[in-house]
């Protein structure tokens, strides 16, 4: 509350009544937009957590026996994606401890259960404003991970468990697209989804890059491909990549693909473009002057639009990605200030 507000002037009577005449497009409540935004970010995050855990486990099966140290580094890198510094205290082997911590631990705000709980809490508070289908999808995926038999199902088949989380997130996002009018509300869903995806994708690439390409981890050359395939799988991009670049897994190609493609929904540039469009629509819908979030994201988009891989490498992949994360985090704060917390 310490921030002096800028946008709180009351609209004069005439323009207010004009606004009301727009009928259905009446401006949504700030709290509502806030809840919408976080609901969608958490659903997207739960999906990433599930995919990362699932892919990591299956990649490790493929690469066979690794040294404990290498194994631990790979598992710890999952925590690093979500900015968690230290592994959870536990008597279990690290892999097991991290899997459970990232799946069930309520005290961990980034665990699947926490993400879905928060997503659902937000959904519940705006229950009247989302479609019954969205609510039912989210509610049943929440009930499923919080059910009494959830841990038993998890122990029985991790893959099935994670796949059901992935499927429910996909279902939820599909329903968001198909059952909501594409008005302000939907634009917030878009911004949230893409902000989250940009952040997680860049973190995944960043942490894996430093493990695999910068030699933090020594791995036998024949296993290198499997690891890089794991990165693509974690970003849901393996099939498209393979179709376009058959043959060897070239880290530079992968980086270029995940950062600079503008026609693939998992690549950063695509996500930035979508977020930017949504921010522009929101600004027009609420009749305001250009706002800081739009400016930040627009600038980032221009940068990506005209970037070359060589440039990226000059800066250093890691620094380049961290800059993206920084820009997105600034933009997210700006959205909050402009729309929710004035």
């Amino acid at each position: 509350m310490a921030e002096p507000r800028e946008n709180i002037t009351t609209l004069p009577v005439e323009s207010r009544s004009k606004f009301d005449q727009r009928g259905r497009a009446r401006p949504m409540l700030s709290r509502d937009a806030d809840a919408m935004y976080w609901m969608c970010r958490y659903v997207e995050r739960a999906e990433h957590v599930a995919r990362l855990l699932m892919i990591n486990a299956s990649t490790l099966i493929d690469v066979g026996d690794l040294e404990t140290d290498a194994l631990n580094k790979l598992w710890l890198s999952i925590l690093r994606v979500f900015r968690i510094e230290h592994p959870p205290p536990s008597d279990l082997p690290l892999a097991e401890a991290i899997s459970r911590y990232m799946t069930f631990e309520i005290a961990n705000p980034n665990s699947i259960v926490s993400c879905l709980t928060r997503a659902r809490e937000n959904a519940r508070s705006i229950r009247e404003n989302i479609s019954a289908e969205m609510w039912e999808a989210l509610n049943s995926s929440y009930l499923s991970v919080r059910a009494d038999d959830a841990v038993a199902r998890f122990d029985e088949s991790r893959e099935d468990f994670y796949r059901s989380v992935l499927a429910s997130s996909m279902l939820f996002q599909g329903l968001t697209n198909q059952t909501l009018p594409h008005t302000q509300r939907w634009q917030f869903a878009q911004v949230a989804k893409y902000f989250e995806r940009i952040d997680v994708t860049s973190r995944i690439l960043d942490t894996r890059w430093s493990l695999l390409a910068s030699g933090e981890l020594t791995i036998e050359p024949q296993l290198r491909n499997i690891h890089w395939m794991g990165v693509l799988r974690s970003c849901c991009s393996i099939e498209t990549f393979r179709r376009e670049y058959p043959g060897e897994m070239d880290p530079l190609r992968i980086a270029q693909f995940l950062i600079l493609r503008n026609d693939f929904p998992r690549s950063i540039r695509f996500c930035v473009e979508q977020a930017s469009e949504s921010l522009t629509s929101l600004r027009t819908m609420t009749s305001r002057a250009i706002d800081p979030a739009e400016r930040i994201v627009g600038r980032l988009l221009a940068q990506l639009d005209y970037a070359e891989l060589a440039e990226v490498l000059n800066v250093g992949i890691s620094r380049y990605l961290q800059n993206i994360q920084h820009q997105i985090s600034e933009a997210a704060t700006a959205v909050q200030k402009a729309y929710f917390l004035y």
Partner: protein
């Protein structure tokens, strides 16, 4: 006699007769008024089709339908919150699939009685917050009003739009052994439960389509529409033809949050919390992504005490500071108005028949349950002497709290209550035990009688409008008379029949 709805083979016929014996076999009337059966083997005429329909079902059929209903309720998140229960905050409202049926001629009386009652209560509120004729003419002793917990002095001389204080009322009715309907209490603050009525109906249509086909049941679906019109009716003139209506909720942790959200969705209005609102120069605005937007009518589901920290509870985070001033200026309408809690006071309840005579010059159509007001010395003495035969209630509690069922209580409980009554007689009333009517309910794999009450909902806009139906609440434990959801009661769909 309605013909049997299905073409069935003889074998099926036999099996259904067997089922009929099974599911109603243990059924006992126990000398109570039974909604379905006039006597052991005689079905009341309006229940005949339903009875035969129900006999069609095998216990497994019925169970499958019960599970369908449960899933429907759970998936939709139709839940309520029980305070003081550590195990998770939300619960599904227990739903009993056997519908309660009310014939048209009975409903006509209820409807007339409830309309009369809400009209009198609104006149009472207007009077008590202005001229107080009912006090100066000695119909109600002044100390009953001034000593009431929910009498709001802040409302004295405040003009409310169209003199309507109670826009939405939920009045609890019970039937005694004689089958007559009695008013048990009025809920003139923020009655809840109407969303369950609408949702139960939707679920029943999915689960029992054939049973529905047998009856012409009056629809309850237009309630949200009527509610919105009722709210718009009191909008301030500056709001023009399309006033901005919003529902004010305490938030997701409130026991009735589902209902607030449900009604907002059904009416297509915003659901706001106190933090969404701001009062500026005596107008109320909500914070939207496009700046502040004026609110003209608030259907508030926040109690008086919490609605404005400036006027009432200073620590409240649920309301908005300055709301009372905006209300006082007529810049925002509130439904229900502040101060209607006076009507929920169980000692004031006892005077409603007098109010009807005083303001309307009519005889009450629906009687009260006879009530002893402990604030009167004679009544108090009688109550203390007959504690084992009476139900004693605290005047300002609801939800089944602060109650003594004298005939079921232990001596210690009775003595503890007697002590409380002596200390603060104004806070108590006593009533004879009403042996509530019973209705068949599904218990395990068969039907048993369970006690029921009925909460119809009344809207007061340009005229009183009684929703045809209401919330029938069921005491799910055998013999229990307590039907409140907070005390483990369930609900059933209520069918009011067309002529």
């Amino acid at each position: 006699m309605t013909p049997v709805p299905y073409n069935r083979s003889l074998a099926e016929e036999e099996s259904s007769i067997a089922a009929q014996k099974t599911m109603f076999e243990a059924y006992q009337i126990d000398g109570l008024f039974d909604e379905m059966f006039a006597s052991a083997n005689v079905t009341r005429p309006h229940y005949e089709s339903a009875f035969r329909g129900l006999c069609e079902f095998q216990p497994t059929d019925f169970d499958r339908r019960r599970r369908m209903a449960d899933v429907a309720f759970r998936n939709q998140g139709i839940t309520f919150t029980v305070y003081g229960d550590k195990r998770g905050v939300e619960k599904i409202f227990p739903f009993d699939l056997v519908p309660r049926i009310i014939p048209a001629h009975e409903w006509d009386v209820i409807e007339a009685g409830l309309s009369q009652r809400i009209t009198a209560l609104n006149l009472f509120c207007k009077d008590i917050y202005h001229d107080q004729r009912i006090l100066s003419e000695n119909i109600i002793p002044p100390e009953m009003i001034y000593g009431a917990k929910f009498f709001r002095r802040e409302m004295m001389h405040v003009h409310v739009p169209r003199d309507i204080y109670i826009h939405i009322c939920g009045t609890d009715l019970v039937r005694g052994k004689d089958g007559a309907y009695y008013v048990l209490e009025d809920n003139a603050r923020t009655p809840s439960g109407v969303s369950y009525v609408l949702e139960s109906r939707a679920v029943m249509k999915r689960v029992f389509p054939t049973l529905f086909a047998e009856y012409r049941v009056r629809s309850v679906e237009d309630y949200p529409h009527n509610l919105l019109n009722t709210l718009k009716h009191v909008a301030p003139p500056h709001a023009g033809s399309d006033p901005v209506v919003a529902i004010l909720t305490p938030g997701v942790f409130n026991s009735a949050f589902f209902e607030h959200s449900f009604l907002a969705r059904q009416m297509g209005v915003d659901l706001v919390e106190g933090q969404d609102l701001v009062v500026e120069n005596n107008f109320v605005y909500m914070r939207t992504i496009a700046g502040l937007r004026r609110v003209d009518v608030l259907y508030r589901r926040v109690d008086d005490d919490f609605i404005d920290p400036l006027t009432f509870h200073p620590e409240s985070m649920l309301g908005v500071a300055g709301l009372m001033n905006a209300f006082r200026c007529g810049n925002v309408a509130m439904a229900n108005a502040v101060g209607t809690g006076i009507c929920d006071d169980k000692a004031i309840y006892a005077y409603v028949p007098e109010m009807i005579r005083f303001y309307l010059k009519q005889e009450p159509i629906l009687p009260n349950v006879p009530t002893h007001i402990c604030a009167r010395p004679d009544d108090c003495r009688y109550t203390l002497e007959n504690l084992d035969k009476l139900v004693v209630k605290a005047t300002n509690e609801s939800g089944g709290y602060g109650m003594l069922m004298g005939h079921q209580a232990t001596r210690e409980q009775r003595e503890a209550f007697a002590e409380q009554i002596r200390k603060d007689p104004r806070n108590f009333i006593a009533q004879p035990v009403v042996e509530l009517s019973q209705h068949p309910s599904l218990v395990g794999d068969h039907f048993e009688g369970r006690r029921v009450d009925l909460r119809p909902y009344i809207l007061y806009g340009d005229k009183p409008l009684v929703m045809p139906g209401g919330l029938t609440r069921v005491a799910l434990t055998k013999g229990s008379l307590v039907v409140n959801s907070s005390q483990g009661g369930g609900s059933k769909d209520t069918w009011v029949l067309e002529e």
